[in-house]
């Protein structure tokens, strides 16, 4: 049985639908400590703001339980961030399972000669009523949130069995876990960051495997087979 941690962060339908698509219908959505401790696997979903989500975990005493679990645990998106040491979102201490911090992306634009604007993106700093002009120079604007399909590389651990280097998965986030020794997949957006983390029986993806097509389904399947 899979236990999905219920800490009142909203809709888990996309996760349960994705589990059903890979043949897993034996799941329970719970905050019961006994069930969470005895389940074969645990999934920590996450939506919303990190410090609020962390407070909801703490209200239920789950912030101290989760790091003691011994079965495979998978965090998704904000769930993964809560498994890191701290998050800049709401400036909150997290569970400290993964040895890294969660930081905010700073919107960046790059001109055709590859120079990055030092103070970040003019989109975030210039007044809205600036004159409208069409600048036809090639220009890359890396907007925040990071939303859409991006690649993962330097894949480690059985979570990425049968997944090719450079596979595309789906992200929606404004905060990212920094690279660290626990990084098991790397992505690049504005800077390199941990697309996934792993330590002992704990795993976490910053991307959304439940929305990442066949690649995401394979990753979920790999987790279920751990």
């Amino acid at each position: 049985m899979i236990a999905i941690v219920n800490y009142d962060t909203g809709n888990i339908r996309s996760v349960t639908n994705a589990l059903a698509r890979v043949g897993c219908t034996d799941w329970v959505y719970t905050d019961d400590k006994r069930l969470l401790t005895t389940a074969d696997k645990v999934i920590l979903p996450g939506v919303g703001e990190a410090s609020t989500a962390m407070a909801k975990l703490a209200e239920r005493g789950l912030d101290s339980l989760i790091p003691t679990l011994t079965q495979p645990v998978l965090g998704i998106c904000v769930g993964t961030q809560l498994m890191c040491q701290s998050s800049e979102e709401g400036d909150v201490d997290c569970m400290g399972i993964f040895r890294t911090r969660v930081k905010k992306f700073i919107c960046q634009q790059t001109t055709d000669n590859g120079q990055q604007s030092p103070s970040g993106c003019t989109h975030c700093t210039e007044p809205a009523n600036k004159p409208l002009t069409v600048d036809r120079r090639p220009l890359t604007i890396e907007k925040v949130p990071h939303m859409g399909w991006n690649q993962i590389t330097d894949l480690r651990t059985p979570l990425f069995n049968h997944i090719d280097e450079g596979a595309y998965i789906y992200y929606v986030h404004s905060y990212y876990p920094e690279l660290c020794d626990d990084t098991i997949a790397t992505s690049h957006y504005i800077n390199a960051f941990s697309g996934a983390l792993g330590r002992d029986n704990f795993f976490g993806t910053q991307f959304h495997p439940e929305k990442s097509g066949a690649i995401g389904a394979q990753i979920l399947k790999n987790f279920l087979e751990l």
Partner: protein, 251 residues
């Protein structure tokens, strides 16, 4: 590298897709779930389902359909059409939609954007604007482009962003259906003016049109209907061609 997104749009009436398609091996071409799955398998990056039902029964059929889509489709999808209250958005979120697209209702009641975004997050709200170039000004329109409003495109898009919209879906009603390409300069100006991603819609007739709007037009995604539905440009062919032009796409 973040990929540019290719998004087929499916019009749904009373629970069934209405535009013709000619996929081989698809027995029921009106089945919105089967068609969406087919696009997902072919490499679509997201899907948009627009409910064009005119009746309440049609709307409730659509909600039921969204539940089925969420069960079957393993890529993000947006739903739009007839969303005019927070409750409408909540119902579609519960059914499993990843994003809602709001259009005329936001023009009538801009506060709707704030309400949905503050409750469910900006990533859930797509502002759709159908604009028309009238006497040198781009004006947002309603009723399929037939009724211009007093909302100027750039100001309205910016206002929607500030109110919490997470993405802009812009359709030029001057170009929609013409297959002559997108107004790339206007898209580029929008990209300069906004910090949210922009989905280009309306006017694609060729691979070059789509390549143009994703490069010169600086759009983050291209949405199209007929070129996909009629099988004129299969998604794998489109992505191969974009990739050969140096555009990052998911393959």
């Amino acid at each position: 590298m973040l990929a540019k997104r290719i998004i087929p749009c499916l019009d749904v009436k009373d629970g069934r897709t209405v535009k013709g398609i000619n996929f081989e091996g698809l027995r029921d071409v009106g089945d919105a779930v089967a068609l969406g799955s087919q696009y997902a398998r072919e490499g679509a990056d997201e899907l948009v389902y627009l409910d064009i039902s005119a009746t309440r029964e049609g709307r409730s059929t659509f909600t039921h359909l969204v539940t089925r889509i969420a069960e079957e489709i393993d890529i993000p999808f947006t739903v739009g059409g007839g969303i005019s209250t927070l409750d409408d958005a909540a119902r579609l979120l519960d059914a499993g939609a990843d994003k809602v697209s709001i259009n005329s209702a936001a023009i009538r009641n801009p506060n709707l954007i704030d309400e949905i975004a503050s409750k469910y997050g900006s990533q859930f709200v797509v502002i759709a604007i159908d604009a028309k170039l009238i006497d040198g000004r781009w004006l947002a329109t309603t009723h399929g482009g037939s009724r211009p409003t007093d909302k100027e495109l750039f100001a309205w898009a910016h206002e929607a962003q500030e109110r919490g919209a997470g993405e802009l879906l812009f359709t030029s009603m001057n170009h929609d259906g013409t297959r002559q390409g997108y107004p790339c300069d206007t898209f580029a100006r929008l990209a300069e003016h906004l910090r949210i991603p922009i989905i280009a819609s309306g006017g694609a007739g060729s691979i070059d049109d789509i390549a143009d709007v994703l490069t010169h037009g600086r759009a983050d995604a291209a949405l199209a209907a007929s070129i996909f539905h009629y099988g004129e440009i299969p998604i794998p062919v489109l992505k191969q061609a974009l990739s050969e032009r140096g555009i990052a796409v998911r393959r």
